[in-house]
Symmetry: C2
Subunit: 296 residues, 2 copies
């Protein structure tokens, strides 16, 4: 029988290498063994449900990093601003972007005040990674988001799936009326240049697999050329707006737990019968936030 | 007028900052000014055309890194092995994978010898980057591919768009009958664990935007569940098999040129009216190989 190549790599491990004492833990084994208290239900007031024709994208907001921009977004949600909006851009290996294209709705919010929430003061709550990062003096997790720090300030990292507030040339022009999500190799050059507001925790494939917008030689940015190429967004709602029984019962693994530390180590150095060499290091953007449905 | 957010970031720069002497060069300006001799036509004998229903994917092979595996692939192409093959897997933020699913054709090559071409001796031809990398002691470009080195050996990096030969648990089981391309955040843990054979230089969006294979909870690997979900590959041909006039006239910027060094620097530290802070560093996987159609 021929196995599927990369199979064990993708699973991270089904067959741990036998060590002298006990098999080394696998990422999956660590998640399965994590105590209930290491899992955290998504806060309904900070969870967005973005409904597309093919399904739902779930976004966890980061109010600890971008409180003003997120307050703007919540006000927009209160006005149902994003109902009937659309994904208007998909640039390969970069971002998708969505906005309200209805002229009246758009103009009503065109002067909404934007903010510069590119970084915040450094915090002792950053759970530091020992790994060297190309872009930041220090990386780690804080408030369950991958973050960078230089000892003075702290900022969210532009990892795959991160969501931000698009802006014009003026740094304070990102109000939240246009949002983007990273769909490719982490564009870390954007760190501290634009406000990140959260991350997609479920349904990412509904964004990442969208057809790319047509390429214009020399100025390719992935904007669709015609409105009929848009992906319609029927609505974006806060989970807290829905009755409790209609909310998704999702939990993520808290990053300040021993389980998370062990999970990261098991991904940093994979021990199974597929790998011939453990990496010995890991990029913060190669650490997805473990998510599960709450057990019954 | 409202500009499209991230617009200038995507363009890298239309409006250079005015410096004391002259405007700092932009990546686009550098490419436009690069002398003809800095551009290299793709070697037809090392260029693959993979034809899908929606278009053509162009892959540049790296025979300097994986000569035996590539010899296998060329032999398979000679047998038209990949005609009527299919993309059978699309795992979000990881890889797409293709193989021949016709039982008779598949079994005929099932025992094709595989090779371990995970690294090669270090070479002075590596054009080194000054940037710190999380995974490799040194990174740079060699033979126009992003590579890592520890001073003794050198290996290709699993960047977005890189193509490799899938393998089973046995390290030498990757013969070239199943190939994959990276479609997400660089899975650098695979470096030196599997043989990379080249990179997609055009048509990447035909692979990256494919629907993801269905998720099975706990063992998600993106394999399609039913053959009718496959994307058919009508053929894979070497450009050299086609008459010269039917070949694409593509050129890439040679990485051992001053133009390439300047291009990387302009991407490392972006100077335009959108960025408020230059990154000061760049990951080798954030440097796409500049490609153009040969001027007439």
């Amino acid at each position: 029988m021929r196995y599927h190549p990369l199979l064990v790599a993708a699973l991270a491990s089904l067959v741990p290498v036998l060590a002298a004492a006990a098999p080394l833990p696998t990422p999956e084994g660590i998640l399965a063994a994590a105590p209930a208290g290491d899992w955290q239900a998504l806060e309904p007031a900070d969870t967005l449900y973005m409904d597309l024709p093919k399904g739902r994208v779930v976004i966890l907001l980061a109010p600890g990093f971008a409180p003003k921009t997120i307050a703007n977004i919540k006000n927009l949600l209160g006005d149902k601003y994003f109902d009937g909006s659309a994904i208007v851009r998909s640039q390969d290996n970069y971002v998708v972007q969505w906005s309200q294209e209805n002229k009246a709705k758009k103009e009503a919010k065109a002067k909404l005040k934007g903010y510069v929430e590119f970084e915040r003061p450094a915090s002792p709550s950053l759970v530091r990674l020992p790994d060297h990062d190309t872009y930041a003096p220090q990386t780690g997790f804080d408030g369950d988001f991958a973050a960078g720090s230089d000892g003075k300030s702290e900022w969210l990292l532009h990892c795959y799936g991160m969501v931000g507030a698009g802006r014009d040339s003026a740094p304070d022009s990102g109000s939240g009326v246009e949002l983007y999500a990273v769909t490719g190799q982490a564009p870390r050059q954007l760190d501290r240049n634009i406000t990140l507001v959260g991350r997609v925790v479920q349904g990412m494939e509904l964004l990442s697999a969208l057809p790319r917008g047509a390429s214009a030689q020399g100025a390719y940015m992935g904007f669709y050329q015609k409105p009929d190429e848009y992906t319609k967004i029927s609505s974006i709602r806060l989970a807290s707006e829905l009755p409790a029984k209609e909310r998704l019962r999702l939990q993520y693994l808290k990053t300040d737990t021993k389980s998370f530390t062990a999970y990261v180590e098991a991904r940093r150095n994979r021990h199974n019968n597929w790998f011939v060499r453990a990496a010995g290091a890991i990029d913060a953007c190669n650490i997805p936030l473990p998510l599960r449905s709450a057990p019954n």
